[in-house]
């Protein structure tokens, strides 16, 4: 009797097809159909060999190309990515980065490869005689974790810390460091070809620590350079 009641209840909520779930084979087939997408006609037309272009088009395109080496390198990388068949583009492994804010507006990212975990800002203990960009240390599972204030490090204006503030734990060369940020927004996928060279007007003054700009407004940080900075190393 109880079983019949349960069954009736299901029928009123879900259809027969849903009741038959899970269908693992169909799930696999539907997942894989994403990579079987045919190239759109416009992609095919973009892939005409350069030899087939009228001379005037080639000259016009050459005149529009930026002349500096760095920009040309980025454009060439993008062109190579776009020229791939659509299915190959979708299937290519994309890296991810964690997006966060310094201040209320400036958005930054660090590649996932360095990411260990996110922490709430708990009992941050100041350490005497350390530079201003060292916020202090926290006890992280019995280990002392040094916390780097990224705003101070980049000489950005200080703002009061809110409840949104977090510590991003990163690891490089076997060393764990906590990065103090004003909020963590989420994560994004990116490919190297989508990262444009940084402009000198970006918020960060130490340009050697910038990998590039993604999505027009997210400054991707070069953690290898940043964590390798002599100012962060003891005994030097």
């Amino acid at each position: 009797m109880a079983k019949r009641k349960v069954k009736q209840n299901q029928d009123t909520v879900l259809g027969d097809a849903i009741l038959a779930k899970p269908d693992f084979e169909q799930a696999l087939a539907f997942a894989e159909s994403l990579t079987q997408t045919e190239s759109a006609p416009w992609v095919e037309s973009c892939m005409l060999g350069a030899a087939e272009w009228p001379v005037a088009v080639t000259q016009f395109a050459a005149a529009l190309m930026p002349q500096d080496v760095e920009s040309r390198k980025v454009l060439e990388a993008r062109a190579r990515a776009i020229a791939k068949p659509l299915s190959q583009q979708q299937h290519e492994l994309r890296d991810q980065y964690l997006r966060f804010r310094l201040g209320a507006v400036e958005r930054y990212g660090i590649p996932y490869a360095y990411l260990e975990e996110l922490l709430y800002v708990g009992n941050l203990a100041r350490v005497p005689c350390t530079p201003a960009f060292i916020s202090g240390v926290v006890n992280h599972r019995g280990e002392l974790l040094t916390i780097l204030d990224l705003k101070q490090f980049f000489r950005m204006p200080a703002v009061a810390m809110s409840d949104e503030a977090r510590i991003i734990v990163v690891k490089h060369d076997g060393m764990r460091t906590g990065l103090l940020v004003d909020s963590v927004d989420g994560n994004e996928a990116y490919q190297d070809a989508e990262v444009s060279p940084p402009l000198s007007s970006e918020g960060v003054s130490n340009m050697e620590y910038v990998l590039g700009i993604h999505d027009g407004s997210v400054t991707l940080l070069n953690l290898k350079a940043l964590l390798g900075d002599p100012a962060l190393r003891v005994h030097r």
Binding site: A31, E117, G186
Partner: protein, 226 residues
């Protein structure tokens, strides 16, 4: 403790949590739902958002504190591993909850087809609603292939008392053509605080959060016919 009839246990129920935008509360929903359902039966939580692994990390904290009980937590790196793990866990659990990645990849598509109930957490912001339009396209694509996807919006970080949130919510449901569950999760610190400690809101001292999540679980169980 409430146990399911033997026939129902064998079938198992997969609940997928998908959203292509990050930071909308997928893991909050997945972990709290896992903790709540584990009080009623054997439950597995699969974290398909690796390497971020928020749900898996939550599970580890919970395991370290000896709080897992009837809950099993697993992580998978790709859609083949996911389908294989879901197949294995659904045979021995009453509920399998899958926390999807924040992108419309193969993993998300597999979750949508496998799940008996697909929950789409959504905050009342334009960016989140735009992102959900892509999920709706996938649901339509599945429907064209005669695959039924039973998807429901779960309003998260909802400010019940603001008119704009209510209006935006109603407009979004109409525009996306998706039905929302009646229960909504409010904008509460309890969710992030509990998540960070390997707890659920039922184990965190915020009565409002506890009540609204209990109502949500009851509605989800009703949807599943439990």
């Amino acid at each position: 403790m409430e146990r399911l009839p033997a026939r129902e246990v064998r079938v198992g129920r997969i609940i997928g949590i998908v959203q292509v935008k990050g930071g909308v509360g997928r893991s909050t929903l997945a972990t709290n739902l896992a903790a709540a359902l584990a009080r009623h039966g054997r439950t597995a939580l699969i974290d398909a958002d690796v390497p971020q692994g928020t749900s898996a990390s939550w599970g580890k904290l919970r395991e370290d504190d000896g709080r897992l009980g009837q809950l099993t937590v697993a992580g998978v790196a790709d859609y083949r591993a996911l389908v294989s793990k879901a197949r294995e866990l659904v045979a021995v659990n009453d509920f399998v909850i899958i926390d999807g990645p924040p992108r419309l990849a193969e993993v998300t598509r597999a979750i949508m087809v496998m799940s008996r109930l697909c929950l789409i957490p959504l905050g009342a912001s334009a960016a989140e609603i735009w992102a959900t339009a892509d999920l709706v396209k996938t649901i339509k694509e599945a429907s064209a292939r005669r695959l039924d996807i039973n998807a429901r919006i779960v309003w998260n970080r909802f400010r019940e008392h603001t008119r704009s949130a209510r209006e935006l919510g109603e407009a979004a449901e109409k525009q996306l053509g998706l039905t929302a569950l009646h229960s909504k999760l409010g904008y509460r610190v309890a969710y992030s605080e509990a998540l960070a400690r390997g707890l659920s809101v039922a184990e965190w001292p915020d009565r409002h959060a506890q009540e609204e999540f209990t109502a949500l679980v009851a509605e989800i169980k009703q949807q599943l016919g439990v």
